[in-house]
Amino acid sequence: MNAIEIRDLKKSFRGMYALNGLNMNVPVGSIYGFIGENGSGKSTTEKLICGHLVKDSGTIKLFGKDYTDAGIRIKVGALIENAGCFPGSSIYTNLKMQCLNLGIKNSDEEISRVLKIVRMEEHKELKFKKCSLGMKQRVGVAMALLGNPALLILDEPINGLDTDGMRIMREILIDITKDKNTTVLISSHILGELEKIATHYGIIRQGKMIQEISAKEMESRARIFVSFKVKDAKKTMSLLKKKYKNVKKEEDFVRVYDEEDVEGIVKYLIDNDIVPSEINKNKVGLEEYYIELMSNKEGK
């Protein structure tokens, strides 16, 4: 069973399709990184799952049931666009209201629990409008965490956060999913951060899912490369291209893809009077994988 199962989902705005037959499978217990360029349909998908938008056609199932089922919805938490808090009220008051809505009996305990998770215990009396962006995002996550949701939907939760804010958010997400009972759907443009936490990825383009892949599968499929830091990159490039098929320049480094014989390449360079000052053997990351996938789809 999947936490989210979407089939042939369509949504248009004034005749323009934002989603055009989207299919999506989010496994239970996963951290699903939802990736796509601006306007690809990520937020629309999330808003449809949350019931903020009305779909044109298609099906959305959450944990095997229709997404409108109240029993399922009470176990969904979301942070979409903003935290959904009243600016003039304190963090505590905002959380209290959501506790009342969810029918949580020991609301004070629950508020303390979620504030501890988001590292905000000491700020509960602070008015929401006085919070920094990072704090607001964390309060939004706290709101979404009330009542122990089985599904957490986070739309760009790390956008605009500083390095420390991103680290805290990453730690929070790892904490939440430790017990594997919470499934997280997270969209972000910061692929480097997403790569550190996601267990699965969905790549969307022009309202259609172009690939769903687990992090493990991606790693096994990822191309290997050996990179060299050299003084004369141009000369090195032309030299390596004579012997190897896939050679690219990436910033200060020259990369040779799909070759595992590091010694052989180094020997070849030295024999030709090029001494690398730095050598790395690595696999392509999510960002490169994504760019490559997008380029292939565009037929480049």
């Binding site: 009305v54 969904v76 089985a150």
Partner: protein, 273 residues
């Protein structure tokens, strides 16, 4: 990876859902200044009208000779002859409209409504809860209006003579009409939810009863006008009897059901922004 056996999904009953939603709305009502500001406004307005028009040397002359005229008209007159026949407790329903617009506007502006709809809350729960809470707030405003009127009337020295039974029926009628008015305003605010100022303007426009006053100018003081919220609100006058209360009750309930159904339909068929 899958540990679905530890996940339980219990469908909350309608009672649990509406209780949750009402709890939120009442909590908000009592924990934000908006409600108290409007209670104060409802008390101050009649006091100011009675105070200023009743003072010696007032240019307008005394609008009221009897304090209860500031609560309701003596007879159900839809065609207004002077401002005194208009300036009564029905004004609460105008301020009430503004209060509802602000109350619901904050839901949308803050994005809280999205939090509600992400969870188990249904659109009909939202309509129902907002209608009930806002009608409660308006009924409270009617009470503070009454207090303000009585205190100002006593200070100015207006007459208090009245048929107590009719006065009680008039007051009951107006309290009951709060439900119908609240449902109208909630409905208007659902339609114009993206445009806060249009919501306020439309609430004000309907609250003034200008459409019914206009219709009365053509139809005269016809009883047919009682099927409308403004008509019934006027009908709850100082010559009311138990029948007036029944009419107010039926009209108020009927319109609130209609507006709730229409509002729910619109919410279900449109996107939440």
């Amino acid at each position: 990876m899958e540990k679905t056996n530890s996940l339980r999904f219990d469908t909350p009953s309608f009672y649990k859902r509406i209780k949750g939603m009402l709890s939120v709305d009442f909590y908000r009502l009592f924990h934000t200044p908006l409600f108290y500001i409007f209670l104060a406004i409802a008390a101050i307005i009649p006091a100011m009208i009675i105070g200023t028009t009743g003072m010696e040397g007032s240019q307008t002359g005394a609008l009221f000779t009897n304090v209860w005229q500031a609560i309701a008209v003596e007879k159900p007159l839809y065609v207004i002859e002077n401002i005194g026949q208009y300036a009564n407790m029905n004004m609460v329903f105008i301020f009430g409209g503004i209060m509802v617009s602000i109350f619901i506007g904050h839901d949308y502006k803050s994005g809280y409504v999205k939090q509600l709809f992400t969870t188990h809350s249904k659109k009909e729960d939202y309509m129902m809860s907002k209608t009930l809470v806002c009608s409660f707030a308006m009924a409270c405003m009617c009470i503070t209006y009454l207090i303000g009127t009585v205190l100002a009337g006593a200070l100015v020295g207006l007459s208090f003579s009245v048929n107590a039974g009719s006065l009680i029926c008039a007051l009951l009628g107006k309290l009951i009409m709060s439900l119908g008015w609240a449902s109208l305003y909630v409905f208007l605010n659902i339609i114009f939810r993206k445009y806060f100022w249009i919501s306020i303007a439309s609430s004000f426009f309907f609250g003034t009863g200008i459409l019914i006053i206009g219709a009365a100018a053509i139809l005269g003081n016809s009883g047919v006008l009682n099927i409308f919220l403004y008509g019934s609100s006027v009908f709850a006058c100082l010559s009311s009897n138990f029948l007036s209360v029944i009419i107010c009750f039926v009209v108020s309930i009927a319109w609130s059901v209609i507006y709730n159904i229409l509002g729910t339909y619109i919410l279900n068929k449109s996107d939440v922004y």
